[in-house]
């Protein structure tokens, strides 16, 4: 009973996910592997049904790769991903077409760039109904009924259906992308920086839309962003990534009120606050993110850490440890209070 309950609560469970991209030099006939990019290195987290889980980090931290691995757009190097109790990497790598299609229907993706993720030669009607034509065999009439419902849902007009993507602004395009993703009523929606390329005045519209739709359909969101302020606005729980690893994971309020990892602290303090009189206690991190080809052996953050480091930091990667109230940290220094 007890176990069953827990499984049902968690819609997605990522266990020890690793994704390394090999780097090749091109020979005449054969490719030779000369190195590895450690994009995602042994991360684990789980998402509860109905919540919005945020994955934050700077460019190259592996947040997008994680999302792409869940969708099998990139084949994970190792690890397990359970979705609704089923291990999906095995399903995606198998030849079971039916199961794969079922998964594709249940997990939908909204891309960062609404300019690039819509086929320029298709009308909005074709774009939004594409997932329906792939996954269902609805007759044309119902298909169109559904299309107009979706357009209304995301705040577009019925006459927009006959238009082409280039006739829309960024915000409207992102609405089209959201309508397409919601067409097949997914269980999990992965939104990869959905507002990063939008203008500030339009951002709020899309964020509110995402929030409304979640309430309406009880969809689970995996929200990926580098922008901590939008994460705070949208997410229930947040994981902070740095160089392919999760450094801290907690409830949103907890993370923003009492960040523990030095990187989270610096990240939070680096965000410019739109208030000229706000107290500035900015932590400016020294240096830059090391190369993901030769990452530091121990703690990945060791090269820029403002804490006094010791041998443990340099030699051993810190484990993500639970310190209470669902707050996890991967830092040697914060373990002992």
């Amino acid at each position: 009973m007890e176990v069953q309950k827990i499984i049902n609560k968690e819609i997605l469970e990522v266990q020890n996910l690793v994704k390394h991209f090999p780097i090749y030099t091109r020979g005449i006939f054969l490719k030779k592997q000369v190195g590895l990019i450690h994009a995602v290195d042994d991360i684990s987290f789980s998402i509860k049904r109905g919540e919005t889980f945020g994955l934050v980090g700077e460019s190259g931290c592996g947040k997008t790769t994680t999302a792409r691995s869940i969708l099998y757009l990139d084949q994970p190097t190792s690890g397990k991903i359970n979705f609704e109790g089923k291990e999906i990497i095995t399903i995606f790598s198998s030849k079971n077409k039916e199961e794969k299609q079922k998964l594709r229907r249940k997990i939908q993706y909204v891309f960062q760039n609404p300019y690039a993720s819509l086929d320029p030669r298709m009308t909005v009607a074709d774009i939004i109904t594409e997932p329906l034509t792939i996954h269902t065999s609805l007759p044309k009439k119902e298909l169109y009924q559904k299309l107009y419902e979706l357009l209304e849902l995301v705040g577009l007009e019925p006459y927009h259906a006959e238009r082409y993507p280039h006739e829309f602004s960024g915000g409207q395009r992102q609405r089209i992308c959201i309508a397409r993703a919601l067409a097949v009523e997914p269980k999990l929606l992965i939104a990869d920086e959905p507002v990063a390329s939008l203008d500030v005045s339009v951002r709020a519209q899309i964020l509110n839309l995402l929030k409304d739709l979640q309430q309406k359909f009880n969809t689970t969101y995996l929200y990926i962003s580098h922008d901590l302020s939008t994460v705070r606005h949208l997410c229930n729980r947040v994981a902070v990534m740095y160089m392919g690893r999760i450094v801290e994971l907690a409830e949103t309020q907890e993370l923003f009120d009492s960040p523990l990892h030095p990187y989270t602290k610096a990240l939070l303090s680096s965000i410019p606050i739109p208030d000229p009189l706000a107290k500035k206690s900015r932590i400016i991190l020294p240096g830059e993110v090391p190369s993901p080809i030769n990452p530091p052996i121990g703690c990945r953050f060791e090269t820029r850490c403002i804490y006094k480091k010791d041998q443990n930091c340099i030699k051993y990667p810190p484990k993500l440890v639970h310190i209470g109230k669902g707050h996890f940290v991967a830092c040697e220094k914060t373990k002992k209070p």
């Binding site: 339009v202 964020l207 410019p272 606050i273 400016i284």
Partner: protein
Amino acid sequence: MNKELLRIEGLKTYFDTWAGIVKAVDGVDIEVIEGETLGLVGESGSGKSVTALSIMRIVPSPGKIIEGKIIYKEENLLEKSEKALREIRGKEIAYIFQDPSTSLNPVLTIADQLLEVILAHQEISKKEALEKAIELLKLVEIPDPDVKIWNYPHQLSGGMKQRIAIARAIASQPNLLLADEPTTNLDVTIQAQILELMQNLRKRLGMAMILITHDMGVVADIADRITVLYAGRVCESADTKTIFYKAKHPYTQALLTAVPSLALRTDKLKVIPGNIPNLIEPPSGCRFHPRCEYAIEKCTEKIPELIEIEPGHKVACFRALEINLESPLGGAKNN
């Protein structure tokens, strides 16, 4: 007294495209005082970049400056010859682009790129110029400058490249630095580094800076005064504190409330309805009226002038004095 360094009056820059004339900048007034940082805030299509390009007279084709005055040190730059202007570009007024990976030439070493600028405006030997270049790299806090100077741009990270771009811009100690979204493509932790660096350099070299950005957080931090642009026109211009606490233009207000912020957590963000207007056929009257909750009949018919409502605070809104806008930051810290 504060001396005026640059004044733009009624600048209009249009782009003649196949779809029609895009009125990117349509009557912009801006002034910059010596040694200050002016934040030029606006969304895409507000004309903030085109304004900056117009100052340098490097508006890309098919753009053209139609009318207006750009008065720099009491001389109108729009009346100067191309040759005279070349003396000013890079030497008096320098430009930092948004994307350092495209504004640096990929086939030249850092040394080549810096020497090019130094030798163009100063008559010194190559060896002296090289010393100067290394000095510049130290100034922008690049580690191992005598090694890094022989690198090519692709060997450096984004933050480092932006530092090089800054070094190149300040090489001949300009009086005015135009920085067009210099940190937009950088990560927040790197952005913090670069902003601090720019702030320090500006103070040290005593130059004025126009910082173009869409991020109210960035200007809150480093600008002395702010000018807000919308659809090619100025909405409001005042010192930073006034903009944040006593904004009088509904658009300025909206920019502050529509952005999720770490300071305030709300359940639902206030939304500016609609989209950014089409600049080929911009809305009649006040450009913001279709999206403005305070719009009245008059706003749809007449274009509001930029009026000084109190010393140093200019607003282009008919109802600036009637409507009472409340700052999202509250009035508490206002005294």
